[in-house]
Amino acid sequence: MIIHQILFIVFGVICVAGAVNLLVQRHPINSALSLVVVMASLALIYLLLGAEFVAAIQVIVYAGAIMVLFVFVIMLLNAGAEERTRGSHFALFAGVPGVVVLAGTVAWLLVHNSTKLGGASTGSSQNIAFGDTHHIAQLLFQDFLLPFEVTSVLILIAIMGAVVLGRREG
């Protein structure tokens, strides 16, 4: 299935490029757009992995809703390009190597275990579209009913929190 590999590589590269661009761009709006790129390509990778439902809400919720919110706030606050202040040497000189170590360790671990983990099957074997809405819904409204319901509380406080913080001093 070479096409899958090619697709993965293409979207993977776009993904990483978007992420790097997020870091490189100085204006938040550019960063936000880069993030949208990352998310979109991730949605495609999800599709490669057979996660249709996830791919769909990735686009709808993330790229659609959340990123709009970001852009909205950026506009609202009229955020300009960030100035390169030197607030933290520690982040640069200890944090960056730290992350490199972190990433290196995880990468080594994954490569090391890659044989054991085997390959991701995409549409090859038994249940191609195992991540479709039907199955998800069954899970979500039975096994994961409680979390789902509890999410309502989460959203409630998110709304309330946003209202409380966002409204003018009364």
Binding site: L49, S88, V106, G131
Partner: protein, 113 residues
């Protein structure tokens, strides 16, 4: 056949880039975006593992079958939470901006030592 580790490494790379973003970006909103990036990376891992368990069905010691889809469900919840966090987080950012008139984290350091 794409090795699972490819996905995972992609996920790890994205996660690390997210962390770098947090460490290196000055704009609070961008930093928040970096966090979103990290969450996305995590989601990728979930989906990849779900795929893995789907293709390598197994049983738990309790006798029940492994449900690969719970990875997807997890991603769903992560997104919900991310959305909620985004709402609150951006509200907090607005609140900070109101008091400090800046979005530069390096200048949000009243509390220290």
């Amino acid at each position: 056949m794409i090795p699972l580790s490819w996905y995972l490494i992609l996920s790890a790379v994205l996660f690390s880039l997210g962390v770098f973003g947090f460490l290196l970006k000055r704009n609070i909103i961008t930093i928040f975006m970096s966090i979103e990036l990290m969450l996305n990376a995590v989601n990728l891992s979930f989906v990849a593992f779900a795929n893995y368990w789907n293709s390598n069905p197994g049983k738990l010691p309790s006798g029940a079958a492994i449900v690969p889809l719970s990875g997807h469900v997890f991603v769903f919840f992560v997104m919900v939470v991310a959305a909620a966090e985004a709402a609150v987080g951006l509200a907090i950012i607005i609140s900070v901006f109101r008091t400090r008139e800046t979005l530069n984290v390096d200048q949000v350091n009243l509390l220290k030592l």
